[in-house]
């Protein structure tokens, strides 16, 4: 039996509330799905909307999306009291539950991303199968399903599939993430969660987090591989991040303003919470450092037409701030919601343990795992060139 850590509190809270049910892992879960949706958006800018400037990062973004998506169910399963019964939700889904469809949505999305990757990397994989030997050759042959047709007709066929998958994928990715927002927003038991804006807020924060991750990893990969960054691509991502960031901030602010303005029963406790324990996490980190500052930095760089190294540094700093801000947002929603007692007469304080299934170490491992997979995938399927499109031209 894991050691129970009860949350200290002030005011009056229901006795059963002193053990916080949803912890770090449940904050990581929406963070990962957000990264999936955001990275997929970046990839779709090229694959669905045909924006050429996003081409250098489109395939990499797709691999980022897939790597994160594969690990999305992990924090949820790790959190379950009975992980071995996880499939019950798919075998006998209780359809009135906002959570019943998660397994189906997640499975659908993994398949969709895998299919899209298959088409995107098919021509490369055929070439790799032909140029490699031994086990690798067998691996790439199997991956291509023993087909080596790279004729113009076949590639045109691939392109149509890609377009279709991207078109399904965009509402899919955002639907999946909006759905995560609904899981929280549809609960009437917690004032902090029960907002109609929650799914939309989740979608926009997802897009900015995924874009920020793509920017950081693209710059990092270019440095590691000692190649020149595509400035037009980077600037395109900066524009997109800047625009979406403003929407995200506006929606978050509207959500909060709604709670304050409606001033329903218990608003005193909410105000005590946001002015006290939440102040730094919410106003300083999430809004100030993570949203307003990046908007100003990117906006300033766009206005002054900053270029070169200065632009890259400014953009990477902004992106890292956005990534921290969105994680803080997940934490402030998931943990914050539970720190405000259902009695609306007290506040709890969640202190994450270091060890154990719900601990900081386990959470960190879950967060690092997708990047381990991404490293492997980028070695097996290097996304840096785009042979299929080059040759087609």
């Amino acid at each position: 039996m894991e050691m129970l850590v009860s949350a200290p509190y002030t005011g009056y809270v229901y006795p059963n509330e002193t053990i916080i049910p949803w912890t770090l892992l449940i904050a990581i879960y929406p963070y990962l799905t957000g990264l999936v949706a955001g990275a997929f958006t970046v990839s779709s800018m090229h694959h669905a909307f045909g924006m050429e400037r996003f081409k250098p990062v489109a395939r990499f973004a797709l691999l980022i999306s897939l790597s994160c998506m594969i690990f999305v169910p992990l924090p949820l399963i790790l959190h379950l009291g009975h992980p071995e019964r996880a499939m019950n939700a798919m075998i006998t889904p209780h359809l009135s539950s906002a959570f019943a469809m998660f397994g189906f949505f997640a499975a659908f999305y993994v398949v969709l991303l895998a299919l899209e990757c298959w088409f995107v990397f098919r021509v490369d994989n055929v070439a790799r199968a032909q140029s490699s030997t031994g086990v690798l050759r067998t691996f790439y042959r199997a991956i291509t399903l023993w087909s080596d047709d790279v004729s113009v007709k076949a590639r045109e066929y691939d392109r149509k599939w890609l377009m279709a998958l991207a078109i399904i994928g965009i509402p899919g990715a955002h639907g999946l993430h909006g759905y995560v927002g609904f899981v929280y927003g549809s609960l009437k038991s917690r004032e902090w969660w029960g907002s109609d804006l929650m799914p939309v807020i989740f979608i926009f924060s997802a897009v900015i987090s995924g874009m920020a991750l793509c920017i950081v990893l693209y710059v990092l990969a270019a440095r590691l591989r000692r190649i020149r960054l595509d400035f037009a691509c980077l600037k395109g991502m900066a524009y997109a991040l800047w625009g979406f960031l403003m929407f995200a901030l506006l929606l978050e602010a509207l959500g909060f303003a709604n709670i304050v303005y409606k001033g329903k029963e218990g608003i005193d406790v909410i105000m005590e919470y946001v002015r006290g324990p939440l102040f730094v996490r919410y106003f300083v980190v999430q809004f100030g450092l993570g949203a307003v500052l990046p908007i100003m930095i990117i906006g300033g760089m766009i206005a002054r037409d900053t270029r070169g190294k200065q632009f890259v540094v400014g953009l990477v700093i902004s992106s890292v701030l956005v990534l921290i801000s969105v994680f803080m947002m997940r934490w402030n929603v998931v943990i914050g919601g539970q720190e405000i007692s259902k009695t609306m007469k007290g506040l709890l304080t969640y202190i994450p343990p270091l060890y154990g299934r719900q601990g900081i170490l386990a959470g960190t491992a879950v967060m690092i795992a997708p990047f381990g997979l991404l490293w492997l995938l980028t070695h097996l399927f290097p996304p840096w060139g785009d042979m299929s499109q080059e040759e087609l031209k």
């Binding site: 129970l4 229901y14 049910p21 009975h82 019964r85 019943a100 038991s189 009695t343």
Partner: protein
């Protein structure tokens, strides 16, 4: 080796046709099988409704409800201890199927001071997390109004916990009690979040959700829930709404009753008398 392309093609076509038929057959067969299983279950279900959960108990004949007369409660906490003993609830200050809240209005204050026996100060007074009492912290204060309010699962008619369970492990019975199938619950704690009353907790032993079930194992044998049985002042009332002469019907008919958090739409079947606006 030579190949006959046309023969090969026709072979493939035949294969596809056969495979298609097999698939259709499998799907159709599966559907029929599913239907027949569903019919069997339906029959079994009908049987079950006439003798569930024991041979001589028919859950369609009862409609249980609970009354709490807060004006009578003296905060002795026998109910809490009886509940823990009867249902094997963890003997600590963080897991309760039922608990009692104390509301105290001090002179000159608009809002009540609220605590329960799980409050660290009260635990310190009892000296143990498995024994409960209210300390005497207000002995030097001027108290204008004070009362106790027992709390528990409200066995709602529209329970949000049941709504959100992703596997259907928690359900409302025909006789109006919300139960948890601990052999099927996955322990996601979505229901713990969804309950507006804080009535659910995570049972570390079974690794599933847990809560009050009005001692379902007792009431289906004609006994009273343990908390009702031990209450020395009759603050807890339990009975069958289908029985016109039951104590619960008498309680409802003779009092102006309230439910907790009616705005949630959960429609509790736990009715209160003598609670104050501060109680939620």
């Amino acid at each position: 080796m030579t190949r006959n392309p046309s023969k090969n093609k026709s072979g493939r076509r035949t294969f596809l046709r056969t495979a298609g038929k097999a698939l259709a057959g499998a799907v159709g067969g599966g559907a029929l099988l599913a239907k027949s299983v569903a019919q069997d279950e339906h029959v079994a279900g009908n049987k079950a409704t006439t003798s569930f959960p024991t041979e001589d108990y028919d859950w369609t004949e009862h409609r249980w409800a609970y009354g709490i007369d807060a004006t009578r409660c003296i905060g002795c906490l026998r109910c809490v201890e009886a509940c823990k003993a009867e249902n094997g609830v963890a003997k600590d200050a963080h897991h309760f199927r039922t608990w009692v809240e104390r509301y105290v209005y001090l002179e000159g204050e608009e809002k009540a001071q609220v605590d329960s026996h799980s409050d660290p100060q009260n635990i310190a007074a009892s000296g143990s997390e498995s024994e409960y009492r209210f300390d005497n912290r207000y002995k030097d204060e001027k108290v204008t109004k004070a009362f106790f309010v027992p709390k528990m699962c409200n066995q709602c008619q529209h329970p949000t916990c049941v709504q959100v369970c992703p596997v259907g492990a928690t359900f409302r019975t025909e006789d109006g009690v919300v139960l948890i199938d601990e052999t099927y619950c996955i322990g996601c704690e979505y229901c713990v979040q969804a309950c507006p009353y804080g009535a659910r907790y995570f049972n570390e032993e079974t690794r599933t959700s847990d809560k009050c079930n009005w001692c379902y194992h007792r009431i289906t044998k004609g006994l009273l829930p343990a908390c009702v049985e031990v209450c020395p002042v009759g603050a807890r009332i339990f009975g069958d709404l289908n029985d016109p002469s039951s104590s619960i019907n008498e309680f409802i008919d003779n009092n102006r009753i309230h439910v907790l958090k009616p705005e949630t739409g959960n429609a509790p079947t736990c009715f209160y008398v003598g609670i104050d606006k501060e109680v939620s």
